[in-house]
Amino acid sequence: MSSYTLPALSPVDEVAVVGRAQSFTKRSIKKDSKAAALRLIVSMIDLTTLEGMDTEAKVKRLCRKGVTPLLDADLPSVAAICVYPPMVRVAKETLAGSGVKVASVATAFPSGQTFLNLRVEEVRQTVEAGADEIDMVINRGAFLSGDYSRVFDEIVAVKEACKEAHLKVILETGELGTYEQVRKASFLAMDAGADFIKTSTGKLASAATLPVTLVMLEAIREYFLATGRVVGMKPAGGIKTAKQAWHYLVMVKETLGDDWLHADRFRIGASSLLNDVLMQWRRKDTGRYQSGVYFSED
């Protein structure tokens, strides 16, 4: 049992954050830059299916779609396929040799409300099943009651169970209330060893937004400048259109620079985003606005 104390953090200027985030939506991205942005977005997607009704067949279809979107050689594969733990094995088999990673949400996702030993055991088994990346949720109850040591220790325990697998720590910003809290949670997660910090589970109405992602990106920058350790960022939930996604790319570039414009350091958790990007891609090639009926849902 450690006694973790948060570093002294400067306050967040909420008005400035919202204003600056807004400014990233005003860029004009056309033609070649648009094509490059669409390609980059695809390469950064954690293509996700997290439903109670997921089947192995659906996961297989999603994997094949993620490896060769539209069967178009000009398009990259997605970064990872993100599934529930029981689907990891089939995803791993289907993706073998493709370079696409298998990510899985462990730790009693999305609420995180079960006993620590069970959460750690879930992570251990999920990694054993072949997951390359683990998306864990933090203990929001403990965080909001100010029990930072407990949140810290739990992340450390999960990180240990991850072994070689990368750990993404979900803050579930929609439940944290304020940007200050998001900033605190970001530092706490990074101090505890997170490889990525991630906004949301995608199971709440209030998911990733530009301002909340900006607060987290700036925390990543400060942490990097202070410690030299690189931490990645993953907004997830609510990013449904290509246009929204490139607002995020602009923000990453103008906050952390080109080094972060890569799937090793920036991911987008999404399910419907990919189809919107593919529709834009085909529109670019054909000049025709597209219809959802010509694009498979998974």
């Binding site: 025709r288 606005y289 597209q290 959802g292």
Partner: protein, 303 residues
């Protein structure tokens, strides 16, 4: 005290009231919005400036198709009776605003008073007429087919989907309503582009629709240039049918050619001089049939 009363008197005398001029906007998704492009057209009556009116861009059209697609299930899922009631309410709302439209048709579109009165009357009557058809055309046009087996065999109309309407450029109200009422009666949603010298009239009609219980996005009214938007209308893969009123041979060829890519239904109609829209030639249950798909179902005869 004396100084104070002088001040207030001077204040009331020096301020002639400024009228609040109306900004004419697009009606998309149940909201009145500016063009995303920020463009406007100056509307003139003769040489007199009347108003600025939004000029829709291809992206406005794309956005409107998206909301029309989203509204399709709620509109086509309503009972035919309910659709009929809503069309009827639109007729009520228009009748209620008769004075406004008669005035605008004269001051914006150059109609004389008698012609303006007639244009509004035709419009109201036509809405009412299609409101009546909305829950009857399935019985008249559909049917039970004779088959030589122990089955019932039904043929029933279903909505085609999202219909783009390139409306009349002669009649800003009756022509517009004659185009969209059959589309709506059939359970479709639509995106309408009006390219008329008085685009303010269709914009005003948006306010009638907005108060008629149409779910947002069922009818979307754009004002702008037909020649600019036609290629994008014709090629859009999420548009299921196009109704073209008037139009040159080149426009029709372009429309048919581009529409072939996703097998849109294309229906070309005449755009007669404004006085002729009153004729019953311009209303027909077969105009509803233009925008339905037939489904035939076999059902075993019960024992």
């Amino acid at each position: 005290m004396a100084a104070k009363s002088t001040r207030s008197k001077a204040g009331s005398e020096s301020k002639a009231r400024a009228t609040v001029a109306k900004t004419y906007k697009l009606y998309v998704g149940g909201a009145f919005i500016r063009s995303e492009s920020g463009r406007v057209m100056a509307v003139k009556s003769g040489d007199t400036f009347v108003a600025n009116c939004a000029r829709a861009s291809r992206k406005d059209f794309r956005d409107a198709v998206k909301v029309a697609r989203g509204a399709l299930s709620s509109w086509s899922g309503k009972t035919a009776f309910n659709r009929s009631q809503i069309l009827y309410r639109a007729a009520e709302m228009l009748e209620d605003r008769r004075a406004v439209f008669v005035d605008r048709l004269q001051s914006h579109a150059g109609f004389n008073e008698a012609a303006a009165e007639r244009e509004v009357s035709v419009s109201v009557d036509r809405l009412f007429w299609y409101a009546g058809w909305a829950d009857k055309f399935t019985q008249v046009l559909g049917g039970v087919n004779p088959v030589a087996m122990p089955f019932f065999n039904f043929t029933l109309p279903e909505p085609t989907g999202v219909v783009a309407v390139l409306a009349s450029s002669t009649s800003p109200l009756a022509g517009l309503i004659s185009a969209i009422a059959p589309v709506l009666a059939g359970g479709n949603t639509c995106v309408v582009l009006t390219d008329h010298d008085a685009p303010t009239i269709p914009c005003d009609f948006g306010e009638v629709l907005a108060t008629s219980d149409f779910p947002g996005g069922v009818v979307n009214l754009l004002t702008g240039s037909r020649s600019e938007l036609l290629p994008h209308v014709a090629s859009h893969m999420d548009v299921n049918a196009v109704a073209l009123f008037g139009g040159s041979k080149e426009e029709r060829v372009l429309l048919e050619t581009e529409a072939a890519e996703n097998v849109k239904r294309v229906r070309c109609f005449d755009d007669p001089p404004v006085a002729d829209w009153a004729s019953s030639d311009h209303q027909s249950p077969y105009w509803i049939e233009s925008f339905v798909e037939w489904k035939t179902a076999w059902h075993p005869v019960g024992l």
